[in-house]
Every structure is written in C-alpha cells, then in structure tokens.
Symmetry: C2
Subunit: 443 residues, 2 copies
C-alpha cells in the first residue's frame, strides 16, 4: 500500500482523554476514532489488525472442530424471558423497542439464541458433539466506558457454544476450547494464563479466565511464575486425542483473579520466589454450565437408550477487539507500538527518503513489487514529508521491519533495515534486504 | 469438511412463510434461520457464501482504490441532527436510548458519520481523492419485512464514500465505483444493469441503481436488451485511466426503474424488439450528491489556491446479504440452488455411497485429501444415510460439482462426476476426476 493513497491520520498530540498507553497509541497511530462514549470507528490501520486477530481465532477454532456461523446483533426479548435473564441482566443490557413496540435488545451474549437454534434442529445424540461459534459485535452499556477498546460498549467478540450428551463429553469439549485458547493467544505473541474465576451472569461450575499480565490490567491476579514459561501445544496436536494431560498441566499451579483468590491457598501452595502478584487483562473466558439454559428452554436430545435429556452446554468467549489493546499493552516502547508479525497491519514499512529522486524511486519501487509478490505486506511511504516525521510515524505504528532508501546509501548500493523490536540497524544490498525480510516474515 | 462433523440442518418441508424461491431454498438448505421478523442467523453454509461475496466486493473495491475501514453499528443522534436527517428519516430508523438517556440509533446508512470522520482529519486538497468504505450490519425497521434476506431489517451492506475537491474530480470517483460495480456483480455470475433511479433519502443529482432481472424482483424495470450481452472490463483495467468511455457505453441505452421511467422516451429510443420490460432486484446504488452533507456539517478542504471549499461527496452501496437472494433467484432449478463457483459454499460435494466399505472409504479419503490440498473446497458426505437423501441434499445445496463413490463403480475403477448446472454425468477414474475438477475450479 502506498501511503500517498492510504488514509493514516496520525495525531501529533497525545489525546488527553486516554488514560492508558494502548488507548493513547491507538488514537495517535490513527487506528481508531471515538464516535460516542465507548463506541469506535476502526480506521484502516486498526481494521487490518482486527482482521488478522479474527483470522487467527478462526483458524484455531476450526482446528479444534468448532464450526463458524453468525447470529444477528439484535435479539428478541422473549428468548431472554424464557431463560429468566431478561430482568436479571440489569442496565448493561441495551433494551430497544421497534416500530411495532416489540421488546428487543442488542445482544451482550448469545446463550439463549444458540440454545434456541439448537433446539430447533438437533434431536439426537448422534449429532453430538457440536460446537458452533461466531464473531459478532456486541453491546454492553457500561456506566463508564474507558480505556479505549479495552472496555468499550460496542465490541467484537468470538463466542463458541458446545453441546454434549453428558458432563463427561462436555468436559472433553471444554478441554478442546481450553487448548485452542492457549494456541490462539500464543500465536498473537501473548502469554495468557488460565485462572480460576467467577462465572458471573453466564453461570456454571467450571470456568477459567484467560489473563494477560499487564500493569494496566483491570484486576489483581495471583499465580505461579511457571505459567510464564510453560510450553503451548504445537500445530501438530490432534484435537481428537485426550487433551486432559495438557489441561491438567496448565491448571496444576495456582492461578486466580482477585474475585476468587484464596490467599492462604496461594501462599500455601506456591513457593515465595514463584509467587506472582500482578495486574491482568482478561482476554477470554471459558464456561461449562451444564443444563442451565437447556433445561428452562427445553433443548433436549435423545440418548442411545432412547430417553430424552437436556443437552450439556458450555460457552467460550474471546474478546477480539479488546485483544488489540492487550497486545499493545504488552508490546510497546516510548516511540510507539511494536507489533508481533502475526497481527501486524503491514509487515514492512518502506521509507523513500527522497521521492522524485530516480535512484530512490527505482530502488523502492523494485523492492515494493518484489516483497508484495512474495506475500509480504508493505506500507510504502512515498510521500513528500521530512525524514524525521517519516521515522517517527513508522516507529509509532510499529511494523516489525523498516527499510530506509535514500540517495546517499544507494550510491553505495545499500538500504538501511531496522528491526523495530530490537532497534538493530543493518546496511544491506536490495537483494540481501529482500532475503532477510523473506526469511524473517514467511513461514 | 466432513458432513458428519458439520452442521447442515436441511428442512424436508417447504416453509410456508417463504413467498419467493430464494427464501424457500435458503431455509431448506440450512443457510439461514429467522430469529425475529426480518432478522436472521446465518447458519454455517449461509455464512460461507456471505463471506465469499464479501471477499469479491473487497477485492474489487481495493482494485478501484477504495480503502477499507469499519464504522460502528450504533450512532449518536446528534450527528443526524447536524445534517437535518434525524427527524426526516421517519420510522425506518431504529431509535435507541442508552442508560444515560442519550439518543442513539442503529445506523441505516453512514453519510453523517463518514463526513464527521473526514472533517476531523482532512484539511487539504493534497489528501484527495479519498474513498473510504466499510462492510457493516445496518438496520432499517421495515413495516413488513419479507422475502428473507432480500428485504430484512438487519442486513449487511458495503458502503463507500468518496471525497473530492470539485464536481469534475467527484465524477471520476463516481466512475471508478460504477466500473467496480460492473466487475463485482459479474464475478458473482450476475448481469447487473445500471439504471436511472430515484435518489431517495440519500439525495443528489447523479445516481444509478444496479439491477438484476428476476421475476420476483421488487420493482418493474425498463431497459434495452443489449445490456444483457455487454462486455464487462477485465482484470487488466487500469482504474487510474479515464473510465468515461466505459461509463458512457454502459449508460448509452435506455434503462430506468418504474419510479423514474419515461415511457415515451423508452419507446422512442429503444426499438420494439430490443425493449425489455421486466422485474428487477436492486443489488446496489451509486450516488453523487456534491456538498449535501459537507456543507451543513462543515467538512471543508483548502484548495491549491488556499481558499476553503466544502468537499464533494458520493456514496456507493452494495447489498451484500441481499445478494445471496439475488444470486439464488438467478441460479436455481426445481431441485435446488445452482451456485456460480465464485460464491459456492464448497466447490465439490463428495458422496460416499457406502461408508464403512473399504473401497469406498479409501477412494473418498484419497480424493478428499488431494482436492483440499489443491485448494478445492470439498463437502464430504461420509454419513450413514440412504443414497436418495444424499443426492437430494447435494442437489438442494447446489455445489458446482458432485462426485459419487460406491463399491459398484469402484470395482470398475470409476467415480461418477456430475455437473450441477448442466446435469451432465461422467464416469471417470479418480485421477481423471481430480484433473477435471482442478481444471474447472482453479484459475
């Protein structure tokens, strides 16, 4: 993408309203724009990251056997009256009346609707296990939305819903999602620790919050330091195999959020030098809640013996839009964002120091074409701006690599290649530049 | 995808509520489910088609220079008060109050919000032309939603917004979108005719509705028959070149919807044997409306002479979710849907006539793996169902090709390959089957 034809509205000043670094950097880097309290537009650069996060979530959901569908944003209040949650949900639910004065709501979550879909079509244990998921905009009318996309009102979530014949099978489904989550966050460059947590309005007995440690996290968390170095299963994992050992390993040490922490247990089971007491950002939560919704809503299946039982359900959320905030909280420095390559909006920032200069234009155009042909995404700064501003913008938006082309270096046949994370710079020929970037950025 | 692990809830009976064939077929093929009047869930098969349509729209928007972003579904009423449309829009606008009793609405369109974004960042003619688009769910509270996704209340639309320094440049932007639309619909197997149309609540002087002819179309249309055979520009078109001749060619003959038709002009300019008087489905609309929003909302840019002028705007919609209905209306027979390959949910339906039989399982697994490795998407029916039901399901869901594997054929070393559109069947070796499908389905 040529910057001269792109829309990248960089802010020079730090927005006053932004209290945390990810919010500040997303506004400054022209990724989002607030439209109302807690409601954002995703500017082109922000949308690219959002889509990359979605793709990783989708790939890992598919790997774990979940099937993608899409439920609407607006729901009928009647469904929520069936489950008993319509009155219970409180003011966070955005309630709406349509022109015929029918009660509707902007979905804050989808247990009722998916249960309704299930009961309309599925009758037999033969169709189980089933795991359906979607990625959709949701709304929670927070009293005080803040921290940018970390705590917005309109936000994008992945939620999956599993259906099984009994608790034992349901735990197998739970484990598949649990392991998928480990892989999902890892691929985004995050270490997410599954912690014991409150189940809140979703309900259920078995639940984990997946927490990324960060100073600006919304809650205090307590866990064993070994979680930070634990291995995550690789691509070759068979999700049809028994995943119990992996889940056991990942829940073997103490890890809990402040809502449920038992300090005596924490201190009793974790050696002092391994105790982490920090703040954390919740990036996902898994629930097994059995028949909480299937019972009142009559979602039943026939067993192999011919009796009818309410189906056992779980739900599994990933905060897709909030993940941008979490990733930036964990990956930035004083100059700006430092994207992990897997979610970077572009892989390479190519800076032409002197547009109009034959040597510079020629080198840039050639490298740009070659990189794009190799599937490497380039933001090519071909604009007529001073060098300092170009460097500052590239550091701010945090693409993994920067390549600088100018008449002086090119007279000696070299480009400057900078690794945004380490800050290391190298002078390389155009060929060596291409080879280096290709090796670093393609699998 | 193995059907045994998929979620494809086929309906045996024709739903009574569905008045038109696309609605009936989408319900029967397990593509959508109505959740409330005019509000649908997209079941896995339906979502796959929706995503393919989105991808085509995105590719053609990018080719024409439009840049993708994403605006939220909910908007502040204040923006609409600035443009004067808040009170004018009527009951189709879904009005909402949040917990702080602020007036909001579920966006039916986004002229106000994009104008607000533009005025916040862009100040100079140097940043023009600019075309920003998004694909987002919208809501129009129709009195009587009907025809499935063709006239739903919550629906997915692409809308692009162009910004130019003057009318001449704005018409160039208009032409780029006009030509992008010709290509977009063509790639989905549709012939869409640009017709003179009313501008309605968007406003403006220059506007075309893109219409697909279909018996079940919502409005009567009148056009010259040559539109049905006119060439659409190929992939090699340079969108930076002068597109006027193409637009002129595509608007040279008479074509108008019933709202604006002048029968005297139609009959006066179109020879009798070329007159088409039919019904049509609107799948997109383009508008140039100049300064209608930029003037009241103060979206101004500095010209090269240093004066300030309100920016000239256009907007360009594609009815993404409604396109599924339009494509099915134009592509079906008595047995079901016949997808064009470009938007088919899967390319091939592979039917194992006797799961458990070593020969059948072996042939199916081998072909399934080979096709998937070649990037051909296969729905593999590995279920234990009778042959008749399998055939009927495959015909109903309308994948471009079916491959049938059974012990009888395999004893002679052959599979049966059926072209869903022509009905032609061939007996081919597994190798020849692969070669045929690869040649037909990959570029």
């Amino acid at each position: 993408m040529r910057l001269s034809r792109y829309f990248l509205p960089i802010l020079k000043e730090t927005p006053k309203e932004a209290e945390i670094v990810s919010h500040r950097l997303m506004l400054r880097a022209g990724m989002i724009r607030q439209q109302s309290a807690g409601i954002y537009s995703w500017l082109p650069l922000g949308l690219r990251v959002l889509r990359k996060i979605e793709r990783i979530v989708e790939e890992e959901q598919a790997r774990a056997g979940a099937i993608q569908m899409l439920m609407p944003t607006l729901q009928s209040a009647d469904l929520w009256r069936e489950s008993g949650r319509y009155d219970a949900y409180g003011k966070e639910m955005l309630r709406i009346q349509d022109r015929h004065e029918r009660d509707m709501l902007y979905g804050p979550t989808n247990e009722e609707m998916i249960t309704d879909i299930f009961r309309s079509y599925v009758r037999s244990y033969k169709d189980l296990p089933l795991n359906l998921y979607h990625i959709q905009w949701k709304f929670r009318d927070e009293v005080r939305p803040r921290f940018g996309v970390m705590r917005g009102r309109e936000f994008l979530m992945k939620d999956a819903y599993s259906f099984d014949i009994d608790q034992e099978k349901a735990v197998e489904s739970y484990n598949r999602m649990f392991v998928a989550y480990l892989r999902t966050y890892k691929r985004m460059g995050l270490t997410a620790i599954p912690m014991r947590a409150e189940t809140g309005p979703i309900g259920g007995d078995l639940s984990h919050e997946f927490i990324v440690l960060a100073e600006t996290g919304e809650s205090a968390v307590f866990c064993h330091a070994d979680y930070l170095t634990k291995d995550v299963p690789g691509e070759d994992l068979d999700f049809n195999s028994d995943l119990t050992p992996i889940v056991k390993d990942w829940t073997s040490h103490y890890a809990a959020t402040e809502d449920v922490v038992d300090m005596a247990e924490f201190e009793g089971t974790v050696p002092e030098e391994k105790r982490i007491s920090a703040r954390g950002i919740e990036v996902g939560q898994t629930f097994y809640f059995g028949t909480k919704y299937s019972e009142p809503m009559g979602a039943k299946v026939a067993t192999s013996e011919g009796t009818e039982v309410p189906v056992h359900m779980g739900s599994y959320g990933v905060g897709v839009s909030r993940l941008l905030g979490a990733i930036i909280e964990a990956n930035h420095d004083d100059e700006g964002i430092i994207w992990p390559a897997s979610v970077a909006p572009f892989h390479v920032g190519l800076i032409n120091l002197k547009p109009g200069d034959e040597l510079s234009d020629g080198a840039c155009e050639a490298l740009y074409a070659k990189l794009e042909a190799a599937g490497i995404e380039v933001l090519y700064d071909d604009t007529d701006t001073r060098a300092g501003a170009k460097f500052a913008t590239m550091d701010l938006i945090g693409l993994p690599f920067q390549v600088v082309a100018g008449p002086r270096g090119l007279k000696d046949g070299v480009l400057e290649v900078k690794d945004r994370r380490t800050g290391e710079k190298e002078l390389l020929s155009p060929e060596a530049t291409f080879d280096k970037l290709k090796a670093a950025l393609t699998v």
